[in-house]
């Protein structure tokens, strides 16, 4: 699953230049972060709690306005010099970005089928899309195909809240597939799952990324999963990139350093780091 194998024609590239985010209280979450993700590349973002990972992801989709710097997804400028793109522009971008989060982001008392169908809401042009009973036939078929892809087709009429965490995350992925994205952003997608369910979810996420040739940026807390699945690793500490390079260049020991309290060597001091900015 290397970058070269992922040559999806629709996949988006992603670029961050000099991104800084300072919160009103004075906390600096991101400090002059720059990197570029090629089309079809699978990047794992590591770092301990409070290192700025989630803020980074929120800046990437325009949910957070950076203090300075620029974010681009494909040819869309998400934010630049402290200003985020307008709502209309963001909405059309969001249609193409699949977002998977730690908390699954599902309404618990919906049926699984309706939750998945909602992935298509960005394409909808009227209220008949809001309910399974009135949704267009081809969208209903597409939603069921997405459920089959992630293996939750047996739960179509069950309430989301009756499923296990791993199953709920699969439902969230089916909804993301329904969106037909060209870029996947995942915020600790396995954080609330047990190790086995977590591994299954990562395998599925990566298979989907590979078979569709998508660009994937995934925040992860498990160095071993990051090494196994990532094409490239990127690590943040105190809002700065401290490590960036192909996954093959690192060992688990290199990554464990990230979670220790003492200073991590600056970019370039670790094997394989700093090969691509």
């Amino acid at each position: 699953m290397k970058a070269r194998e992922r040559t999806g024609s629709r996949a988006e590239s992603l670029g961050v230049q000099g991104l800084t985010k300072r919160f009103p209280g004075g906390t600096v979450a991101l400090d002059d972060v720059s990197f570029k993700v090629e089309r079809g590349e699978g990047v794992m973002v590591l770092g301990h709690n409070g290192s700025g990972k989630s803020t980074l992801l929120r800046c990437l989709v325009g949910l957070e306005t950076p203090t300075s710097g620029e974010v681009r997804i494909g040819d869309v400028r998400v934010s630049s010099a402290g200003r985020t793109a307008g709502r209309r522009k963001l909405r059309s971008l969001w249609r193409r970005v699949g977002y998977v989060s730690q908390g699954f982001g599902l309404v618990e008392n919906l049926s699984v089928f309706r939750a998945v169908l909602q992935g298509g809401l960005g394409r909808s042009d009227g209220p008949w899309w809001w309910f399974p009973a009135t949704a267009p036939e081809e969208e209903r078929d597409r939603a069921f195909a997405c459920m089959e892809r992630v293996g939750v087709e047996g739960f179509a009429r069950r309430r989301v809240s009756t499923l296990s965490g791993g199953q709920q995350q699969r439902v969230a992925m089916a909804r993301m597939l329904m969106q037909d994205p060209s870029l996947i952003l995942a915020d600790e997608p396995v954080a609330s799952l047990d190790p086995r369910a977590g591994r299954e979810v990562m395998e599925l996420l990566w298979e989907i990324g590979r078979e569709r040739g998508l660009t994937v940026v995934c925040i992860l807390h498990q160095p071993e999963l990051a090494l196994e699945f990532g094409d490239r690793l990127l690590a943040l500490k105190a809002g700065r990139i401290v490590l960036d390079g192909p996954a093959s260049g690192f060992s688990a020991g290199d990554l464990n350093v990230l979670y220790e309290d003492d200073e991590v060597p600056a970019s370039g001091a670790l094997p394989g780091s700093g090969t691509e900015g």
Partner: protein
């Protein structure tokens, strides 16, 4: 509280005294509260005398009311149905209209703080004015009869549901809402795809409470001529036909209890 400090003569080993000396402010608050109560009692003319006299009259009422007269039961039944219909329509309209209001009055959905405060104030205004007063206003607008009552109950339900709907919306987990926005769905699709389904059980429960309250209100609204069984009740009372009045009171009791029981049963199922 005031003046209690460790190391005073009377405290042994730091055990707090049984009675703490109240502060000047507490004293004042007590004096004012007591004064208000005494003056209210004095000026309202409520005395043990009126109470005993009233009790005798009450006995007289029941003596005349028993046994209840069932001759006018068909007319009372029709008026009861009308009363419940008023409550049902008023609550349904009010709860539907309060949904957009609640979205504008929920901190996490309001498009602008000014909109938020204006809608909050508007809802508070609807709630502050009693439904009987609304009924009087709407009788001027649309004349005597059920339509005025329905409008009054609608406004009342809007105030009640608007407030509780908006509070429920503010409590919602933001994650599912954000996830749906991130699919590029339109704001309305987000509302109907995540806010409404997530808050639905609470919305239904609130609406049922509103229906219970509207059923009771609808009875009273008839007293001022806004339709329903209250008209029958005032007529019987004014004609001193207390036996008819008692029938009406019993029917009202049965309807209110039936509505409360049914709505409680529905709430148990959905929550």
């Amino acid at each position: 509280m005031g003046g209690e400090s460790p190391g005073k003569q009377d405290d042994k080993h730091g055990v707090p005294p049984r009675l703490e000396r109240p502060s000047l402010l507490t004293w004042l608050a007590w004096v004012i509260a007591l004064g208000l109560f005494v003056s209210a009692f004095a000026s309202s003319g409520f005395s043990p005398g009126t109470f005993s006299g009233g009790f005798a009259n009450l006995l007289d009422f029941f003596a005349r009311a028993l046994p209840p007269e069932t001759e006018r039961l068909p007319a009372v039944g029709a008026a009861t149905v009308e009363t419940f219909q008023m409550a049902l329509i008023g609550t349904a309209l009010g709860s539907l209209l309060s949904l957009p209001l609640a979205l504008l009055a929920a901190r996490n959905f309001s498009p602008h703080p000014v909109v938020y405060y204006v809608t909050r104030t508007f809802i508070a205004f609807l709630r502050a004015i009693p439904d009987l007063v609304w009924a009087l206003v709407f009788i001027v607008a649309v004349g005597l009869g059920p339509p005025a009552g329905i409008l009054a109950l609608t406004v009342d339900a809007m105030g009640f549901c608007g407030r509780f709907f908006s509070e429920r919306i503010e409590e919602l987990d933001p994650k599912p809402i954000e996830s749906l926005r991130l699919t590029g769905a339109s704001p309305l699709a987000v509302v109907f795809g995540s806010v409404v389904p997530a808050a639905f059980p609470s919305f239904v429960a609130t609406t049922l409470f509103a229906l219970e309250s509207a059923t009771r209100s609808a009875v009273v609204l008839g007293l001022v001529g806004a339709g329903g069984i209250g008209v029958e009740l005032t007529t019987s009372m004014e004609l001193m036909r207390y036996d008819e009045a008692l029938t009406i009171i019993i029917v009202i009791f049965l309807v209110v209890v039936a509505v409360e029981r049914t709505s409680a049963a529905i709430r148990r199922r959905i929550i």
